[in-house]
Structures are given as structure tokens and as C-alpha cells.
Assembly symmetry: C2
Homo-oligomer: 157 residues x 2
């Protein structure tokens, strides 16, 4: 209770933005550019030695909302409810996007990446190398469990 | 250029905070609690069906800084420079943390997770299921490339 009352608003600055190269706005398998501020050029030094990176971005067309709750993941089962934080829906308390992309090219303050599901002009707030590591090992979890609704969704697509 | 001039500050609200259960502040293999606001209890419905989740948090003891640039990843080579965005250092333009954790238990607005490298009281800003998925498949990259400096770091630890 003490902690919760201390949760103050957070202010941050975009570090750059997404520039989509494909004319198909929703073709997220295409190459996108991530253009950072000139002042952050040196902060990207050597990033091209990673084949994959996480892009963390701000879904600027969504709003911050406290009233998010749950959805029915299956259109055929209106009893089953799944909370928004257990989905990747853009409607979430803070509209933050997290996507693992292939890093195709790096030149100065610009990255070319493949597989970024962000619209043209999306503000980027952080970039992190993949995978994470600790205790002397890269952390790639291959032994994981997902819900039945997600298995069904994947099977049907 | 047009886009960069439009990059406005972003304001967001913490959705909860980290409560460390271990007395050893830096033992990040221990179990931590992630306590969300009561109003977000429904947003967690069914999350326990995932074995692993991403926690996105705000490194509240760090500052936003535009002057981040590079480090020497190896103490024995003062010629080699790596940009902060190509590392997981907490000193980065926006001090955002991203950690993949094991979800041990879920009860109402509280998650018990294993492997969270966040200090007691750290604000949490988003939670996402692992792994990501698209085109009918879970996305787990096992064929990746990392820099030589990271291989050496992992080998020596």
C-alpha cells in the first residue's frame, strides 16, 4: 500500500522513430528503418554484431487507459476470459510495443530491421540486444508453456 | 527530419511495483513479487497459463540522459568501443528494464516471478506473455549471432 501510493507518473523521451519502407502499411514482414536522434549515433556502436535486437516502442495512436480488463480470445467461447496483460493486444494500460527483429543493416544513427510491427512514425523508446544473458549463459527459453486458446489461435492461422 | 521534430515527451503511469522477497538485494535468482494496482486485477486473468512472461520496468534510480555513448566492454582492450544501446547497461537514454522471468504463481493482482533483476520498489510499466507469435508460430530465435566481446564475457564468468 505504501509503495502503490508512491507510484509517480514517468516521463520519458523518444530516442527515435520508425520509418516504414513498404507501401503496404500492414506488411510487417518488410524492412523498416529505425532512425535515432543524431546525438545517439555513438550509442549504437557495434550493435550490428548482434543478429537480432528488441525494439521497444510507444503505440502513439493508442491511449493510456486504466480501464483495460479482459477479452474473449475465442469468438466461439464467450465464457472464456483472458486479461489484456496476458495478450499482446495494443489496448493495454501503457501502450508499449516490444518486438524482436532481425537487424539487417546499421549505418550511423539508422538501423534497418526486419519484422517490426510498428506503424510509420512510431516513437522508439529503447533498443536492447538479443538474447538476454546472465550467469555466463545466453537466456533463450525453449521449454515454455502457452495457453490452449493461443495454441488454437496458432493452429487456425 | 520532420518526424524527429515531432517526437514529443511521453508520459506513462506505473501499473505496479516490484517487491523483493529475498533479503539479499542483489540475488536476482530469487522469487520476487510483482504487485499491480487493484484496478488491473482483471487484466491478469489467465496469465498463469504462460510459464514465462516479460516484465518491463522503469529503473527509477537512474536518470534519463541524452549523453550516453559507449563503453569499453573489455578491461583489457581500451580501443574497443560498444554503444550503450548494444549493451544491457542500466545507463541508457531511457532507463527501461526488460527481463524474461518464470511465472511461478498468480493470485489476484499479484504475480510471483523468478529471475527478476529489479530492485525493491521498482515501478513496473508493462507485462507481456512469452514468447511472441506471428503467422501462426511462436517466435523463439535460437539461431542468433552475438559479438565476440559478449562471448568472451560469458566464457569468463
Amino acid at each position: 500500500v505504501i509503495h502503490l501510493s508512491r507510484l509517480k507518473p514517468i516521463h520519458l523521451q523518444p530516442i527515435g522513430f520508425v520509418e516504414r519502407l513498404s507501401s503496404a502499411e500492414r506488411d510487417f514482414t518488410a524492412i523498416s528503418k529505425v532512425v535515432l536522434k543524431d546525438s545517439l549515433t555513438d550509442a549504437l556502436l557495434g550493435i550490428e554484431e548482434f543478429s537480432h535486437i528488441f525494439i521497444i516502442f510507444w503505440l502513439h495512436e493508442m491511449q493510456i487507459r486504466e480501464d483495460v480488463s479482459w477479452i474473449h480470445p475465442s469468438s466461439s467461447d464467450n465464457q472464456h476470459r483472458v486479461g489484456f496483460l496476458a495478450t499482446r493486444a495494443p489496448r493495454r494500460p501503457n501502450p508499449i510495443g516490444l518486438t524482436l527483429v532481425e537487424l539487417v543493416k546499421h549505418e550511423n544513427n539508422v538501423l534497418w530491421v526486419k519484422g517490426l510491427d510498428a506503424l510509420d512514425g512510431t516513437p522508439v523508446i529503447d533498443i536492447k540486444p538479443y538474447p538476454d544473458w546472465n550467469n555466463g549463459e545466453c537466456q533463450v527459453i525453449v521449454d515454455y508453456k502457452i495457453p490452449d486458446w493461443l495454441k488454437q489461435l496458432l493452429d487456425s492461422s
